[in-house]
Subunit: 135 residues, 2 copies
Amino acid sequence: MNHDPSAVLRHRGIRLSAHRLAVARFVLYTRSHPSVDNVWNAVQKDFPMISQATVYNTLNLFVDAGLLQRILVGERRVVYDPDLTPHHHLIDEDTGVVHDIPWQAFEIPSIESVEGFEVTNCQVVMRGRKKKVTP
Amino acid sequence: MNHDPSAVLRHRGIRLSAHRLAVARFVLYTRSHPSVDNVWNAVQKDFPMISQATVYNTLNLFVDAGLLQRILVGERRVVYDPDLTPHHHLIDEDTGVVHDIPWQAFEIPSIESVEGFEVTNCQVVMRGRKKKVTP
DNA sequence: GTTCGTGCAAACGGTTTGCAACAAT
DNA sequence: ATTGTTGCAAACCGTTTGCACGAAC
């Protein structure tokens, strides 16, 4: 994994700007599954004048460039994930926190081929709450 | 499965009305995974004056009553499914059609318990396109 | 007569877009 | 000079809500 955001963006043919770098520095290396608002707030610490529109546009740019994954974790809740390797997601219904679940947690046989379909994408979204530990 | 919508609604304590019955007759027995608009169009054939708001309210009522499942099949795409038994969904990226995939298609071990969580819900949404048949 | 269903239009919230200004090439 | 990035506000789209009316209880 490349930890130099400038190089990453340039490698995808994305022109650099201070705002884009700031967004990249946050969103490409976080494991917190941030929403657009999370990204906006984080970047605002360095660039108080950045607009929501720019954050939206930049995130879309990164998704289109294959740097980010959009994950639909709820009715009106989209979250971004820089981890593009196949994995699942578990949403804590109490806190809203999104957890990564390793792909191997489930045995999904013949995922590329289900009933005559070529599966291009598979999103498993689970919801649950932390179990009480019996003492 | 009860094929008398009046009885189904009454059993859930939902008061009957012509509009509700019309919505129920369509949405509780279809396998087409209709969107709100699909339901609206279908019911309009019998009740041309029914409003979108009533369709929305009625569908929400049915979901809350446990008669329907809301399925998030895309960014701005919600469909309704009267099949409440656990199963997965596969969306044809070319046609938008939603297919049911039997729960047993995947071996999902210990679904109730993943990494200290009690899983209450699990939605698997796949996207793909029909494979060309090699002749 | 109180409750509940309905239609209408307005409000809502997340996202996109058109435009003008400006920066980079 | 041309192209690309940004902020702003308006538009957009699916959904919800407030209100007034009328029907059901």
